[in-house]
Symmetry: C2
């Protein structure tokens, strides 16, 4: 994979120019893209700033994020020729930092569950996950050092885990979702894919203009709570093995680790996620549904059909449930004296076949809670497929989630 | 003015067809638009549904709200030829209710403070206010029975008060801002303009799919707290007189009325509004600023210039201040046993001249608090200009704010 920090260091020291760094990326794309199919389009002649903390860093932009200089197709023929007027703020921010939004990356249609044609770089017979399929796969294939995705259920953490890269879903609204095609305004969260925890932390700190995110340093005697999310079906053995292995690595690095059971209200909040997501999607995609229902792919069409029946009172009740659980999660951290939660990133390795994107059940509660989540690769299956774990911190404590993930990453190597 | 409920009743009873109702609106536009200048464009051949609870109701859509069938110009030459792909969800919802989004209404550029050319229907030498200038003026001039606007500071309540119509800024996110050009994602709120409180309540209940909003009925022994917002400069005498007159009318109608002083934290929150608004606008309009700064109008350009210097830590601090004030406002309502707050809608009547849009200082705190606000006309100055008051309820208690405003409206007539 292409390390963002390594590229930055080479550019800073004059061993590589920003144009040269973009050239490396173009060569990697030429080599890997035909097999992986992670990209919707590549800018043939982008502006490459000579300066800036991310000068020369080519970035993949999930194709539901507005770009003024490239089409934005939402994974749907309905937007086949669509070109937004303006860059989304997160894209404008990347440019202001010197980065080059070089390519649009594949997304499932409107970031829902209908699959893309993108292949898992570790094994082309397996899905890369979704909905941010192209962003995860492009970083995993070594085509890009950084890519943007979004998560409404598990669309950053799941594909990152399936592809064996680091994925970060920051605190809700740490990065603005303005100019990002909406599915659920209470849930949609911008996130990042990178080759390492340090790469992701560096990029997030710059994008969010909060240097402390990348400066937490060694978290020292970290207090980790293992959460197994018993409110949903148990994972595959490889996910459990990865969790145990990551916990053991953290303990070797000096962390205290213990099991934590979440109160019942979190199971209720987990169940509320779908009501909130679907009720809002019915509104967010009302124009598409009213005018082009038959052009929508089958899973999305079925979900929107079903969503027409959700009562507004059920939505309001789901929001109250979520609100109480968010408060309750603060008590879990402070009452139990936890710095971070360690849990599954996905039910297992990427499923075989390209007809599905996998299951987001271990991600949905945390998206609803708005808390920062980081996944990092821990293991590989016999079929060569990566398996990750997920580190979760309090709302606004993105730096701590990344520092803890970094500690585990280092401990796993050692 | 055109009453929405009156039109609905005539259509329901068969005395008027939906097409006929739209024809009435077209005739009113032909008569009044040349003087007022409230409209950006009118759909020459819109779909007019034969059925639906708002069938035949022509609606004005502020020109920062996406419409698939009409241009969306944001009040700026940068978007002169812009046509969004999809309707904003609120526009799609209007259509699904049978309403006809007939016209786009003028907006200050990007809904900031640079004025439009729209005139106050009560006196063409005076501003209609902003930023939702055209929506307020079109309803006031009797051209439309309903119009949509947005408020980030005071852009619904202020123009409604200046033009002498009822304006509603609902609870934050009661109506989705998806497909609405963003200025500040923490503040932007969709609102309505109508000829009466009952008209506005009927429309809001339908748009939000919460019938209870229009069914509060007689609020009975309403407990009203008069708040004078001492953290900012005192209003003109006519605004004070309108407040006193509205309070006296409420007392006659059986309400208990008393003065309430807000704790100091609300002055701090008032001051935090600008930091949050401007920091987010810098991001929301980053593409426009980076690529077309010189094409931006002077007030917006100056605001964005200044916003470049806001530290992220100051923004985070302002958000914490707002969060604490929101909690504190619950205590004000419950601790003081209040149903609603009654306060100024604006510092006075619409200022003379079209070179400014007036002052939002009596609106900004409440936008930041996310609470429902309703303005209704109370008085007219010697120059024939309307003066309103503002009724405010707890977050989510939109129906009570409207019921209290309705009680005052009836009491003022009696």
């Amino acid at each position: 994979m292409l390390s963002l920090l390594d590229l930055c260091a080479r550019i800073d020291s004059g061993r590589l120019t920003p144009d040269g760094a973009v050239g490396l990326v173009r060569a990697a794309i030429a080599a890997r893209e035909p097999e992986v199919g992670a990209l919707v389009c590549v800018d043939p002649a982008p502006a490459v700033p000579a300066r800036g903390p991310l000068a020369g860093i080519a970035v993949g932009i999930k194709d539901i994020i507005d770009t003024a200089d490239l089409p934005t197709r939402m994974g749907s023929a309905l937007y086949e020729t669509w070109r937004p007027r303006a860059d989304a703020p997160v894209v404008a921010r990347l440019k202001s930092l010197g980065a080059v939004p070089l390519a649009k990356t594949t997304t499932t249609p409107f970031a829902f569950l209908d699959p893309t044609a993108t292949r898992n770089p570790s094994n082309p017979g397996h899905t890369p996950g979704g909905s941010s399929a192209g962003s995860a796969a492009a970083v995993a294939a070594g085509m890009l050092p950084l890519a943007l995705g979004t998560q409404t259920g598990g669309s950053v953490i799941r594909p990152a885990a399936f592809c064996g890269v680091v994925g970060v879903k920051p605190s809700f609204r740490l990065l603005p979702t303005v100019g990002v095609k909406c599915y659920s305004w209470a849930l949609d969260t911008l996130g990042l894919f990178a080759a390492s925890v340090a790469d992701a932390a560096h990029a997030l700190a710059l994008l969010a203009d909060r240097p402390a995110i990348a400066r937490e340093g060694d978290p020292g005697a970290l207090r980790i709570g293992i959460v197994r999310q018993d409110f949903c079906a148990a994972p595959d053995p490889e996910a459990e093995a990865a969790l145990v292995r990551a916990a053991a690595a953290a303990e070797r690095a000096g962390a205290s680790v213990r099991d934590v059971a979440l109160p019942d209200r979190f199971g209720e909040a987990f169940a509320a996620h779908g009501t909130i997501q679907d009720y809002e999607a019915r509104q967010a995609l009302a124009w598409e549904y009213a005018n082009h229902r038959n052009a929508l792919p089958p899973r999305l069409r079925a979900a929107l059909d079903a969503a027409q029946g959700i009562e507004t009172a059920a939505y309001d009740s789901a929001r109250r449930t979520a609100h109480h659980a968010r408060r309750g999660l603060k008590d879990v951290f402070s009452g139990d004296g936890l710095d971070v939660i360690l849990t599954y990133a996905a039910p297992g390795a990427a499923p075989s076949g390209l007809d599905q994107t996998g299951d987001s059940r271990f991600n949905r509660l945390w998206t609803l809670m708005g808390v920062p989540c980081v996944t990092l690769p821990v293991d590989r299956t016999g079929a060569g497929l990566p398996v990750g774990v997920q580190v979760i911190a309090r709302f606004g404590d993105d730096g701590r989630a990344l520092a803890a993930a970094g500690l585990i990453e280092r401990a796993l190597r050692g």
